[in-house]
């Protein structure tokens, strides 16, 4: 007998801890949120403010029953928090020069140097390119979803991703000589 399947077979069950305390929610989800915020900011040390902001928003919405799946909602909140952090931007600009202080390979092992080089390369990307690169290649999101998160056109995501990837390559290649 012929079957007709629904697309519902292919998708997972949403995750929602309806009665979780703030601390429980934070413990469950902070690590990926912090990593994402750090990459979007281009600096791990300034990601925490955005993450606090994002969790404050998400938990409020969660308590009201408006969140089915914490993951995507938190991701959007992190992106918004990183982009909306006007005060952080001012701090970022003031300290921009500090962030570009060179780190020489003599004082670190190779892995640390490589990671530091990636952070420095990320910071050299324009903010728009950096966000697209992180969401596209770290979060592995489709172009349409990146466009939705960043509120830009899909064509912009395509071009920014290509340009960002090329820029990363160039920056890291120059570093490696």
């Amino acid at each position: 007998m012929a079957h007709v399947s629904t697309e519902g077979e292919r998708v997972g069950v949403p995750v929602r801890p309806p009665d979780a305390s703030f601390a429980e929610l934070f413990a469950q989800h902070y690590a990926p949120a912090l990593r994402l915020a750090a990459l979007l900011e281009g600096d791990p040390t300034r990601a925490e403010d955005a993450v606090c902001d994002a969790f404050a928003r998400v938990y409020g919405r969660l308590r009201r029953g408006g969140v089915d799946d914490v993951g995507p909602y938190l991701r959007q909140a992190v992106v918004n928090a990183v982009r909306g952090g006007w005060r952080r931007r001012q701090v970022e600009r003031r300290h921009a020069a500090d962030l570009l202080v060179d780190v020489t390979s003599e004082s670190f092992d190779a892995a640390v140097v490589e990671r530091d080089a990636v952070w420095r390369a990320l910071r050299q990307l324009p903010p728009g390119q950096r966000r697209v690169v992180v969401l596209r290649y770290f979060e592995d999101l489709p172009e349409a979803e990146v466009a939705r998160l960043l509120r830009v056109k899909v064509g912009t995501v395509k071009s920014q991703a290509a340009k960002g990837l090329a820029a990363l390559h160039t920056i890291l290649e120059v570093r490696d000589g």
């Binding site: 519902g8 069950v13 409020g60 919405r61 029953g65 089915d68 990636v118 830009v152 064509g155 395509k158």
Partner: protein, 709 residues
């Protein structure tokens, strides 16, 4: 560096990120501060509502349904209001032309039993079902509604409030007549054994074997003429031989006849309204073959061939007709079957209506009394109301009130009537307001849609990546016209829509990109002269039916350029712009063209702003970045005033594009601004109901904005 290498590098870097001590407490303190602030605001709102009518508050509060646990067993109401994705229906069953049921996925992924009470215009989820629930069927009165899948058969007679299992096992198929239910069950995965056909006449309390001999049941169809009359297609027990069709008039004695099908499984069978006419679809390797019989399967005639790129995915007899059938096809070549259901016979041919829009792969049929045919396709649920018109339903959850804070994209047609897209627990919620944005009600759901524009209260368009939809009835129904541009940016002026497809890293893009205009709100489109070359990061603005500007980055030069037409797109003039290679935004008031480049003239600038008083031939820089620290949202004009709505919750306005006035603390970050000539503009952020400034804002002049709480 390729994408994989980039992912590995970023992952390595991210792995070193650790939280500092006390971060959780810091975050919770921030939440408590936000909560305290929002409670103060809520108190103020309640005081206002007491004076203006508490009913509004009750409606809005009612939309936030109390959480209920989701269970993997099909016995629960959905915990929250779930949006049914009408593009995923795999089964439909209609009680009458208004009330029907279906099995579909929600936008958040659950498989649900869904119901409509308005002729498939809106759908709401009744019960969360196991993921592999295939179909819903109208069943005898004791059962009312039966659902089935590989896990068994479930019944509900109270619209999903209680769902009970009536048959457990690996159910391969299920059918029901007015008195009897039939099911085929498999003995177990990987076991060599026959499939059983079982039947129940007591609402599923007891099941008895319906065929007394071992059989591999491939298809079953029940006759509308008799409660116990049924046809069964059996595969041969051995490796050779052909399938046979067995018929019973009384459920006890059977006659068997050969069929013209090959021995492979996958046949489909339907019985005509006369109880003796049959249509048999045989699954063969290259193309499904279809046979008809007018004498209960004693002799068969092959129909003319089906189109070569479609396989039969749904089969039904035409309600009320003795020997007419309808099949739904799934295309073997993407993007999908375009022409909708095929009916037979029409002068011994397959026939389909010349639809004005592609239908997509057809998955299921359901007939309501009066020969109203509904069918589920990959583009949504459609109905053929009067044999002429074919409409796709909007597919809403219940017509709930929607929190105004969640409306993030708006298009107003007057001071009171507007449409929008809302977010929240689900995506793609299409809403309408009739009171200037104070209250919003869900009209339907639109999937993959990120923007919309309504020209009048009935005529509108909505679009997103690879999506373009048109409505002519205020968003109750939507369709995708053939030839509509996709992957486009749109603008409008004086009743004309302009669209240009943006480049998709497509080599053809370096040559040219077509542009389109529509004078009937998106129903038909006409190509204009192409923009040569095509542009990346496109922005477009039209100022009249004849004049439009397109800005973007040329893939040839990697520099920004402006294409200008003043003859309705018959020709384009090209000018360089002072922008770099990044995204740009365009607006035009009654005097100057405004260009905002999302990269400043210096490294410390985020934006640079230019104006042109000669249609893009020469540009004047406006000086330093006026939007310092912002992130661009929307650029438009309200009469002679330019408006830049920023993502961080500011709206800037300027009459000349050079000096800008900032309105602060207006929302969290704007998604859209909708201007209504002679009325003003509405700006929506749809970001966060905790923020007292979040929501809809209105301005009569573009400069001074007032919150519409």
């Amino acid at each position: 560096m390729d994408e994989r290498q980039a992912h590995e590098l970023l992952t390595k870097a991210a792995d070193e990120v650790v939280a500092s001590a006390g971060l959780s407490e810091r975050a919770e303190r921030r939440y408590q501060r936000r909560r305290a602030r929002s409670q103060m605001v809520a108190t103020a709102v309640v005081v206002v509502l007491v004076g203006s009518g508490i009913a509004t508050a009750a409606v809005v509060a009612g939309n936030r349904s109390s959480p209920r646990p989701v269970s993997p067993t099909p016995t629960t109401r959905p915990r929250v209001s779930l949006t049914v994705n009408t593009k995923t229906f795999g089964s439909l069953a209609f009680v009458n032309d208004a009330t029907g049921y279906g099995v579909a996925a929600t936008t958040s992924g659950q498989t649900v039993l869904a119901k409509t009470d308005d002729g498939a215009r809106t759908w709401h989820a009744l019960a969360v079902m196991p993921a592999r629930t295939y179909a819903v069927t109208l069943a005898p009165p004791a059962v009312k509604l039966a659902l089935w899948g590989p896990g068994g058969v479930w019944a509900t007679n109270d619209d999903g409030t209680h769902v009970r299992e009536i048959l457990r096992g690996d159910v391969a198929g299920f059918l029901s007549s007015a008195q009897r239910m039939w099911a085929t069950t498999r003995c177990g995965r990987g076991q060599r054994c026959s499939e059983e056909l079982v039947a129940s006449d007591d609402g599923g309390r007891t099941w008895t074997r319906a065929i007394p001999w071992p059989a591999y049941v491939d298809a079953v169809a029940v006759s509308p003429k008799s409660a116990k009359a049924a046809y069964v297609v059996e595969l041969p027990v051995g490796s050779s031989g052909s399938p046979e069709i067995a018929y019973t008039a009384n459920g006890a004695t059977w006659t068997r006849e050969p069929t013209p099908c090959p021995s492979s499984a996958g046949s489909q069978l339907a019985v005509g309204g006369d109880g003796v006419s049959l249509m048999l679809v045989c699954s063969v390797s290259a193309r499904d073959r279809v046979f008809v019989s007018g004498n209960r399967g004693r002799t068969w005639t092959e129909t003319v061939a089906l189109p070569s790129n479609g396989r039969v995915s749904a089969l039904s007899s035409y309600d009320g007709a003795d020997s007419a059938f309808v099949v739904g096809l799934t295309a073997t070549v993407r993007p999908g079957w375009a022409n909708g259901p095929l009916t037979y016979p029409t002068l011994d041919q397959w026939a389909y209506k010349d639809r004005p829009q592609p239908i997509g792969d057809v998955r299921a049929f359901a007939f309501a009394p009066g020969a109203v045919m509904y069918f589920a396709a990959s583009t949504g649920v459609w109905y053929d109301h009067d044999g002429v018109r074919l409409l796709r339903t909007a597919g809403a959850s219940r017509a709930n009130a929607v929190d105004p804070h969640e409306v993030q994209t708006v298009s107003f047609v007057s001071a009171r009537v507007g449409f929008g897209l809302a977010t929240g627990a689900e995506t793609g919620i299409f809403v309408r307001t009739d009171d200037g944005g104070k209250t919003w009600v869900q009209v339907g759901s639109l999937f993959g849609i990120t923007a919309l524009h309504f020209e009048r209260a009935v005529d509108g368009v909505a679009w997103g990546q690879n999506e373009f939809e048109v409505t002519i009835d205020g968003g109750n129904h939507w369709s995708t016209p053939r030839g509509a541009p996709v992957n486009q940016v749109l603008t409008w002026a004086a009743g004309r829509l302009w669209a240009i497809s943006f480049c998709d890293q497509n080599p053809a893009c370096a040559v040219s990109r077509p542009a389109f205009v529509s004078d009937d709100v998106g129903r038909t489109w006409r190509k204009t002269a192409p923009v040569t070359p095509g542009l990346e990061d496109v922005a477009i603005v039209a100022t009249s039916r004849s004049t439009a500007y397109v800005a973007g980055t040329s893939p040839r030069t990697n520099r920004s350029q402006l294409a200008v037409t003043t003859d309705g797109g018959a020709s384009w003039r090209y000018e360089p712009t002072p922008c770099g290679t990044l995204d740009s935004n365009l607006a035009h008031n009654d005097r100057v063209l405004l260009l905002v480049c999302t990269q400043g003239q210096t490294a410390s600038q985020e934006f640079s702003v230019y104006t042109s008083a000669d249609r893009g031939r020469t540009w004047t820089a406006s000086g330093t970045d006026p939007f310092v620290g912002g992130y661009f949202g929307t650029l438009t004009n309200v009469g002679s005033t330019f408006v830049a709505a920023m993502q961080r919750g500011e709206i800037w306005s300027s009459s000349d594009g050079k000096t800008w006035r900032r309105e602060t603390e207006v929302g969290e970050g704007f998604w859209s601004v909708s201007t209504v000539p002679g009325v003003g503009a509405f700006a929506a952020d749809g970001d966060d109901s905790d923020n007292p400034n979040s929501g809809l804002w209105f301005s009569a002049d573009g400069a001074r904005w007032a919150h519409r709480p």
